[in-house]
Homo-oligomer: 491 residues x 2
């Protein structure tokens, strides 16, 4: 689009939206829109034509109708903490900030549900439910800042989602507006719904099917007690197999995390969590529930971990020690930032039984690409967060890091996993989607998108690659000789 076209479009949009919103709720000057040019994925940036900050449903509806009439793309935005660029603006579009929809509408302690507006922060739900001994289970690392609307868009996870499920498993109903500005409701308080169940389609759809304004979530009782086991292993094979053994024993820990030695070394230096630096890998394995349940589960997990070859086992004796065990895990990303100018965090998943294979494959890739990688995994559900360390100012290192990352993703898919566990696709993993899915599968998703939004107005260009993009990516990989798994990609 030419600059003058864009400015004419912008003028038309402003003219249309101005009567709908009070002055401070509509931003379009460069200095006002710059703060919105990226989300948590700062490597990708774009400035929108305008940013709207509505306060009422009627305003949202009117904005959507206006944008639909003008053919202007709409990108909804919560707190902007997303890691895959799902809320990155569209240059010729409107960014719809829903930050002002921040009211908790109802907490029902008997039904154990909460009905909240989309802009309520994840942790604020748990705070509102705390007087009743309840909380909202999914706990992304960003939970102090991220909003429930964004969690719905990305189907966010967290350390505890192994036991308590992802956002999808904790949301009962989503209410909002479609691309045409029509009111829509997905799901209900019931366990099942007749007809096609569209709620699980909305959760994780990255703002492409509808704009979420209100969410009814399930609340769970705060456990009376939590204790954490820290187990050391002399090699990654035993550590990986121990994860599978815990699950195979019929135990679903409240959290089951793995860190390899490069990771524990980096965090120990930073937060002094008391990690065993002689261990090739450590596991953090949490139990929560009544004191009786926790005692019994800790005993069973300890036995399984010993049987799987743990060289040392420590069990938190009190809440302070439990939090100290977790402090290293929670500071893994900043700790990596201390030892490397840049790092790339991946988010792929693999079947649990392949954890050790993957760690060994990554060690081999370190040699191949001449870069270091620290590994921290949500091991219990096979969700990897390898951190590839590099210096972005060295173009050769940057390129090698990108190939390293692509290799990890494609190896994950080859092992039967996926390219994203909980951070979403956004703009970041569009190429990876070409590896994950066949042309036909991506076309099927695009057809479903079109069934909701035929004009393609809601968050266009995100999450699902076009067939042309996949074809181009395939040619690029072939040219670069960078197809680590000849049977992939399937386009």
């Amino acid at each position: 689009m030419q600059v003058e076209d864009l400015s004419a479009r912008q003028a038309a949009l402003i003219a249309r939206l101005s009567p709908l919103l009070p002055g401070p709720a509509l931003l379009w000057r460069k200095e006002d829109t710059i703060p919105y040019e990226c989300d948590g994925l700062t490597a990708y940036r774009a400035r929108p034509m305008a940013v709207a900050l509505p306060e009422t449903e009627a305003q949202v509806q009117a904005i959507l109708r206006a944008c639909h009439a003008l053919g202007v793309p709409v990108v909804a935005r919560g707190a902007g903490t997303g890691l895959s660029g799902g809320a990155m603006p569209h240059t010729a579009g409107l960014t719809l900030s829903l930050a002002r929809f921040n009211r908790i509408l109802e907490v029902d302690p008997v039904a154990r549900t909460a009905r909240v507006q989309c802009g309520v922060r994840n942790i604020a739900i748990s705070e509102a439910a705390a007087p009743y001994g309840l909380y909202y289970a999914p706990d992304p690392s960003s939970q102090i800042a991220c909003t429930i609307g964004g969690n719905v868009a990305e189907n966010s996870g967290g350390v505890h989602c192994l036991k308590y499920g992802l956002t999808l498993h904790n949301v009962l109903c989503v209410r909002g507006y479609d691309a045409h500005g029509e009111a829509v409701t997905f799901g209900s308080e019931a366990l099942d719904a007749p007809g096609l169940d569209l709620l699980p389609l909305i959760v994780g759809s990255e703002g492409m099917l509808a704009v979420t304004l209100e969410v009814t979530v399930r609340l769970v009782p705060r456990p009376q007690l939590a204790r954490c086991i820290m187990a050391s292993f002399g090699d990654v094979r035993h550590a990986g197999d121990a994860v599978a053994a815990v699950i195979a024993a019929g135990i679903i820990p409240a959290g089951l995390e793995m860190m390899d030695r490069p990771m524990t070394a980096a965090v120990e230096d930073f937060v002094h969590a008391g990690y065993d630096l002689d261990a090739a890998a450590i596991l953090l394995c949490e139990s929560d529930g009544t004191p009786e349940e926790v005692a019994e589960e800790i005993e069973r997990m300890t036995a399984v971990l010993r049987g799987a070859g743990a060289t040392a086992i420590a069990v938190s004796r009190d809440e302070a020690e439990r939090l100290r065990f977790w402090s290293g895990r929670k500071n893994a990303f900043p700790a990596s930032g201390r030892i490397s100018p840049d790092y790339m965090c991946l988010d792929s998943t693999i079947p649990r039984r392949r954890l050790a294979d993957m760690l060994l494959a990554i060690q081999e890739m370190e040699g191949k690409y001449g870069l270091r990688c620290c590994n921290v995994f949500h091991a219990g559900d096979g969700n990897l967060h390898p951190l590839v360390l590099f210096d972005a100012n060295d173009p050769d290192e940057l390129e090698r890091a990108e190939h390293f990352g692509a290799d990890i993703l494609e190896t994950s898919v080859a092992m039967g996993g996926t390219v994203s566990g909980e951070h979403g696709v956004g703009v970041e993993k569009l190429n990876s989607m070409c590896v994950q899915f066949s042309a036909q599968e991506n076309a099927q998703m695009l057809a479903v998108k079109a069934a909701f939004d035929p004009a393609g107005n809601l968050n266009p260009g995100k999450a699902i690659p076009t067939l042309a993009r996949c074809a181009e990516y395939g040619r690029m990989l072939v040219r670069a000789g960078a197809l680590p798994h000849p049977e992939l990609p399937r386009f």
Copy 2:
């Protein structure tokens, strides 16, 4: 369609399919297709043009391609135990029996998964997993006969789905073919998938989006122990509130069922389960897990039930007594058959907190329609199975029973529930879908259906009503003066 058109169509279909299948695998003579003319909903019948019984994936693919080319509707069928007519044939279509896809392909005790063909019976999965101490949790009453493919189509539940979830929550991956005969895969072994998550859309889609051939399910450890509480209540208000109190106390029982006095009287006469016939309602409340967990949970549930006003409480002392407590519940339907020539089983859901309101509303309807109703509820998840008793040979009784049923469904929706909890919509509840959903919502579902099957070849006319049908139903209700809730329906 004229009879001669139909027979020409049939001849064309037979000619096309005959080379693809051995003789006994293609049925079209009247005497051969009669056994397929209905599923578990015997009130609705239709004979298909032909029945195909393929044995290989290649045959299924070829059949789908042929039917797509000819524009012949395809209705997939498992064991035919569905209760809503989802597998009822299309007069101008092909019934695709998948009974021969009955192999268990893999049981992985470490990953706790099983990969099975669609025609494997629900209970056969648990039998195959038993040597590893595992089982497949969803347990519809028909589990001895029903197939996993049918369970996927209807998102089947069961007594234990309160704790262990519906089919959706226990299926990891579905593989099959689309309306064009293209291979499709939905889901993976991973907890989350990038892009639009189509697996939850397939589960419960009643054969309208794709034909399922292979399913990977989650297995769970068989609990070491199960014990059951039988609690009596002097009135239904206390019984309903007790259900809400158990859940509000943070307990998720393995099963939580309610029966009212007419129901217990009917079953006690039949199976002598030892039910308290003085009680206005009884609850069956099961705990499973390790002996320590069960002991602790039984103690907590007992305290909650007493606090909620239980007049008598019995706890099963051994497995024989536990099975006896359940024998009444499991025989509720045949027991109703003994006291009435016919009964209509409904399947609506309501929020748990409305259980007592609903029982009282049904008691009022008994007077209004001059018919009796026995009630057995999956109370823990608010799924009702009222059994309206009537004599189908009396046209007036039949009509009153139909109005009674419609009143229950519409009251359920008005209370914030749904018209179907676990039996599906099929042909039975098409009109109810008009009550449950707005015209726009049904249109959205039809658009999603079209995104998978643009020609509308897979199980047409099921599960989602056309807009014309809803408009007609609305006019009919208005004419009959049978709109119990003026705010409904929303068309």
